[in-house]
Symmetry: C2
Subunit: 189 residues, 2 copies
């Protein structure tokens, strides 16, 4: 195999590194509510040229979708990683993580909605992926009687998503989230 | 006192009845998501002429504000009426009532926002009225150790308001609301 048939390993590694640098720069840029996040600004922050940026992401929408999918991967991986822990602790800890995921991805999701529409499979499909990843944690918590019988996983997630609509600082919202998550446990007589 | 100095009691009663009929008709009309709610339609449903309608409410906005203020009166009165009951039962029952109030007033509030803006004192002022009316119920529940120490009344209300953003049928949302309200109680060790 010669270098004009396929990229050499070093070049492939460079390309992957560039993609990661761009995604990391874009993630940081979108997390800063003051920042004007143009494609040029993302290239500048990532330390790559515009040609490299556009070779990786033909447009702003593709970049946003990749960022969004990356964060969904992370929240799904977190659910899988919690498999061994005490079922109640694992599910509760993951719900807190899920809350952080929703509030942190909000700027990206909001802008993505402007570039696309909510019927875009990236939304429905990602919700399905998150639900599937959390399913074993939820089942284990239910089996351990750590979750009330009258709630499904979807209802528990919608409760957490609802609390993310409270646009106040985390000192205000955290105790609300904690109360709601405690409420998912069965009531003791 | 003669009838050309002030309306006779019978005429004042008629006027009050007309106003009530208009508000009742408007409330029903706005509760029907299929209905086209024009001023003419409201007059028709109330069985009054357009002149009577406009004498009571010079415009659609004034009618919406009166409807909204009426519902706020009702939820405040409900808080006061619950004074004598067991503090936990009273506060919990009122939160369920408050939830029903938020979900039922949504069509009116949404349209009112189109005719005005959210800085309109009718919003902030009404929130303050509801908080003030619920304050004694909350204080009694807290005194009875029926509400966790780390939550304020505003946080409890924001939790209920957040759950009202879940746009699903009541069979889906009710258990979520119940779990959240249970979560307001202190955790037992």
């Amino acid at each position: 195999m010669t270098s004009n048939q396929a990229p050499a390993p070093a070049r492939r590694l460079d390309a992957a590194r560039n993609r990661d640098k761009i995604l990391a720069a874009a993630r940081t840029a979108f997390a800063d509510p003051q920042a004007e996040v143009s494609m040029a600004e993302i290239a500048r922050r990532a330390g790559v040229g515009m040609a490299t940026l556009y070779r990786n992401f033909p447009g702003r929408r593709e970049l946003l979708e990749a960022l969004f999918a990356d964060e969904v991967d992370a929240i799904c991986a977190a659910a899988e990683a919690m498999g061994g822990a005490d079922p109640k602790v694992a599910f509760t800890a993951w719900l807190h993580r899920f809350f952080a995921f929703i509030t942190s991805k909000r700027p990206i999701a909001t802008e993505l909605l402007e570039h696309t529409d909510s019927a875009n499979p990236i939304f429905g499909g990602n919700r399905d992926r998150v639900v599937a990843a959390a399913r074993p944690l939820f089942a284990a918590a239910k089996e351990a009687h750590a979750v009330r019988d009258d709630l499904t996983l979807e209802q528990a997630l919608d409760l957490v998503i609802a609390i993310a609509t409270i646009h106040r600082d985390s000192r205000y919202v955290e105790p609300i989230l904690q109360a709601a998550i405690d409420g998912l446990s069965p009531r003791r007589p």
